[in-house]
Symmetry: C2
Subunit: 442 residues, 2 copies
C-alpha cells in the first residue's frame, strides 16, 4: 500500500518530507517522538528545557534524597539516536493555525504538517498567583531545589534561634493539597526532619517539629478508594503528620499560613493543591472549561483542528467509562505512543488514526518508609509490599541502566542508614536570618 506521500516521493525526490512538530518533551511528547524516530517523517521537538524530568521522583530531590541529575535526562541524549528528529531549546508561545506555524520566543515560526501539543500542566494557585513565590509547587528542578533549600535553611535557623516560639515556627512545615505529591512531601519531610534532629542538631527536639498537611476536600488522596485513603491517613499520623481535611487556605505568606481561620506560623510552605493545564488552549482560542485542559476527540485530535492533536495533562480526553482521563504520567505516555504510531501510519500509509484506549497500569502513592498504596482498579495493595513494588516500578521506569543503578544504590543506602545524600543548601540563595536569631552570651 502506498500513501500519498510515498507516491509523491517516488515521482520527485525534491518534494519535502512531511513534518510533525511536537511541543513539549515530557512523558507524552517524548513517547510520540520516539515512535516517530527513524521514520521518513521530519520531526521537530520544541521544549523550553534541555532535559526531560521524571516527575514522580521530584519530591525526593526536594527532600534531599536524590540529585536532580538522577531523575532527568537531556532530551538530546534520549532522541539523539534518531536522525530525523530535530530538537529546539525554545519556548512556544502561540500557534498560527491558518499558516500552520508554531510561534516561538526567538527565531522564525516553525512550520508543521501535523502538530502535537504536549505542554503539560502547572500548579493552580486559584487566582492567588502571588502565593507562588512563597509556596512553590513541585514541577521543575528549580522548584525542587528551592524547597530543599528552604526546608534545610529553616532547620539551620531554628538551631540558632533563641526564642522557643520561633524555633517551633521554623520547624513547622505546611503542605497545601492532599494529592499524591502533597502526601509524598509530608511523609518525606517528617522522616527527614526527625532523622536530622535526632542525629545532627544539638538544640532541637523532635517534639518541636510539625508537619501539617492541609486539604480543602473531605479526604486526602481523593483519586484512590476510601480504604486506601484511611490507611494513608493512619500511616501519616503515625509519622507525626497532622492531616487536616475540609480546611480552606485563606492566606499564604513567607512564614505564615491562615487556614480554616487559624493562623499557623511556619518555616516552609509547599504547594500541591491542584494543577491546571498549560496555556495552550488560549493559543487556539479554545474555551477550556476543566482546568484549562483542551478537549480532544477519541483519536486525540482537537475538535475543529484537523491537523492539531493534544496529549497528556494539557488535554482532556475521555476514558472508556465516559469519565475524563486523569492527569497522570501513564496516560500521557500511552497517548504519546498511540499518537506517534498512528501519525506514522497516517502520514506514510494513509491509515486513519484509531481511537485511544487507556490501559490502567495502577495508580500509586508512597507515604514513607515501608508504606505505600496501589490501586489497580480490580485489586488494591498497601503497606510494605506496596512500598517495595512502588520502589521496583519507579526504578524500572527510569530512563537507563546507569540511573537505575545510581538510584537503587542511594535507596538501599538510605534504607540501611536513613541518611539523605543531597542535603545541600544552595549557596547562591541569600541566607537571611530572623532578627531574633541571637546567641546567648556564654
Amino acid at each position: 500500500m502506498t500513501s500519498p506521500a510515498d507516491t509523491l516521493r517516488q515521482e520527485s525526490p525534491l518534494v519535502p518530507r512531511l513534518r510533525v512538530v511536537i511541543i513539549g518533551a515530557g512523558f507524552g511528547g517524548l513517547a510520540a517522538a520516539q515512535e516517530l524516530g527513524n521514520s521518513e517523517i521530519d520531526v521537530t521537538v520544541i521544549d523550553r528545557r534541555n532535559h526531560n524530568l521524571f516527575q514522580p521522583l521530584l519530591y525526593q530531590v526536594a527532600t534531599a534524597a536524590l540529585s536532580p541529575a538522577d531523575i532527568s535526562e537531556p532530551i538530546r541524549r534520549t532522541l539523539g539516536r534518531y536522525s530525523n528528529i530535530d530538537i529546539m531549546l525554545a519556548e512556544a508561545n502561540g500557534i498560527d493555525v491558518a499558516g500552520k506555524n508554531v510561534l516561538i520566543d526567538h527565531g522564525a515560526p516553525i512550520p508543521y504538517d501535523r502538530l502535537v501539543i504536549a505542554t503539560g500542566s502547572e500548579y493552580n494557585y486559584f487566582g492567588h498567583d502571588e502565593w507562588r513565590a512563597v509556596a512553590p509547587g513541585l514541577k521543575t528542578i528549580h522548584e525542587a531545589r528551592l524547597i530543599r533549600h528552604r526546608l534545610l535553611l529553616a532547620f539551620e535557623r531554628a538551631e540558632l534561634s533563641q526564642e522557643p516560639e520561633e524555633k517551633k515556627a521554623l520547624l513547622t512545615s505546611i503542605i497545601i493539597g492532599g494529592g499524591p505529591t502533597g502526601v509524598e512531601m509530608a511523609g518525606a519531610i517528617a522522616e527527614l526532619g526527625r532523622f536530622m534532629i535526632t542525629r545532627d542538631f544539638r538544640k532541637l527536639s523532635p517534639d518541636h517539629m510539625r508537619v501539617i498537611l492541609i486539604e480543602a476536600g473531605p479526604r486526602i488522596l481523593a483519586a484512590f478508594p476510601q480504604d486506601l485513603t484511611d490507611y494513608a491517613t493512619r500511616s501519616l499520623a503515625k509519622m507525626g503528620v497532622e492531616v487536616r481535611t475540609g480546611v480552606r487556605v485563606e492566606q499564604v505568606g513567607q512564614d505564615e499560613v491562615i487556614a480554616g481561620g487559624e493562623r499557623l506560623r511556619t518555616g516552609c510552605v509547599i504547594w500541591g493543591a491542584g494543577v491546571k493545564a498549560s496555556p495552550a488552549a488560549k493559543w487556539l482560542g479554545i474555551d477550556a472549561k476543566v482546568g484549562g485542559r483542551i478537549p480532544v476527540d477519541p483519536d486525540l485530535r482537537i475538535t475543529g483542528f484537523p491537523d492539531i492533536f493534544a496529549i497528556g495533562d494539557t488535554s482532556l480526553g475521555m476514558g472508556d467509562d465516559g469519565k475524563p482521563l486523569p492527569a497522570l504520567a501513564q496516560v500521557a505516555k500511552q497517548q504519546g505512543q498511540h499518537l506517534g504510531r498512528a501519525l506514522k501510519a497516517d502520514l506514510l500509509e494513509g491509515k486513519p488514526i484509531p481511537p485511544f484506549h487507556f490501559h490502567n497500569r495502577g495508580n500509586t502513592a508512597v507515604i514513607g518508609r515501608n508504606s505505600a498504596i496501589f490501586d489497580f482498579g480490580s485489586w488494591k495493595l498497601k503497606g510494605r509490599l506496596a512500598w517495595f513494588l512502588w520502589a521496583l516500578v519507579h526504578v524500572y521506569l527510569l530512563v537507563n541502566f546507569e540511573k537505575r543503578l545510581l538510584v537503587t544504590i542511594q535507596w538501599l543506602w538510605r534504607y540501611a542508614t536513613r541518611q539523605r545524600g543531597a542535603r545541600l543548601i544552595d549557596e547562591n540563595a541569600s541566607v537571611t536570618f530572623p532578627a531574633s536569631t541571637r546567641r546567648s552570651e556564654t
Copy 2:
C-alpha cells in the same frame, strides 16, 4: 599529668570548659574539628555554607560529569557524631581580639579561648572584579552550576544559530589560567564538546569547536616539573585544546576576550588564574603581602596573636625547605590534623604545640581520558597509569562509602559510554538567545 583546665574542673564542676572556635569547614577546618571531636573541649565550627565541598572534583560538576551532591557533604553529617562540636551556619566578618570574640553577620559575637582561621581562598581577578560576573571561577557549587549552564547553553544557541561566525564564537570556550583547574577544565570541555557534537547535535561540526587555554606565565602547570608540563601541553594539543602561554588577558566580557592584543569571540569564559586568600588578614589588621595569606609561625600560630592560628590556603606557612607551602588541599588537611591534635594536648594537658611539618603526598593534575600527571618529588608519573592512580586516589578521598560507590559507577559508565550524567541547563537561569538566532524558512 594534669593540665590547668583539669585542675579547675576537679575543683569546681561549674567552671566552663575551654572553647575552640574554627572558622571555615574546608579541608583544614574539618580536619581540626575531627581531631578535637569527643574531647573535653567545646568546639564551635562556623561556616557560611552547610556543606563541605570536595573541590578537586568540582570541575567535573562544571562539565556535567558529576552531581553537586556526589562531592559535597553536610557539615552536620560529618561532625554530627561529636557531641562537643557545635555547628553554626553563619558568615564570620571580623575578630574582636581584645574581647576574644568572633563577629558574625547575624547574632551575638562568638567567644573563643583559641581561634582557628581556616577560611580558604578565592579567585583573584587582579583588580578587575567586574570580570567575576562574566568569567566565573570554580570555588563553589553555585559557580560550577553556572559554568555548566553557560557551557551547555552556548552549544544549544550554536545549534540554532544561522550565522557561521556566530556558531563558531558560541563553540569557543576560553579558560584563563593554566594551573591544574584550568588544565582540567580545558581537557574536560574538549572531551564533552566533541562528544556532544558528534552524538547529539545535528547542525554543529567538531571542526567549529575551539577550546583556548590562556596562561600569562611562560608555561602551564608551573608548580610541576618541566617535563610534566611538556607532556600536558602535548596531551592537550592532541585533544584539540589551544594552549597559549605568555599571553596576558586585557579585557574580559560576556562573549569576548581580548588577550595578547587579539580579540577572541566566545560562548563561555572560565576563570582559573590565581587565587588570593580570604579577607581574614584584614580582620586582624595584618599586612599580608603574598596573596593576602596570613604569615604563621612553625606552630601555625599567627605571629603576635598567641591565641589565634591560621591553616590552609588563607595561611602562609613555610616548608622545611624554607619555601612557602603551596595552597593545596593536602597541606590544609595535614595542618588541620596537626593543629587539632596539638590544641587538644595543649588545652587538656598543657603540652606546647609542636612545629608543623608538611609531608608531600604527591601533586597531581588530570588532563583527560587516560591522561594525567603525578609529581611525588622524588619520582614522577604520567599517562594512563597516572590517570588510573588519580581516579583511585580521588575516589578514596571521598567522604564515605556511598559517595565512593556512586562516583565509581558514574566514572565507569562514562569511561564505557563517554556519556555525561548531569547535562542539565538550570531552568531558573534566563535563556537568552542572540538576535541572529533565526531559523531559515523551510
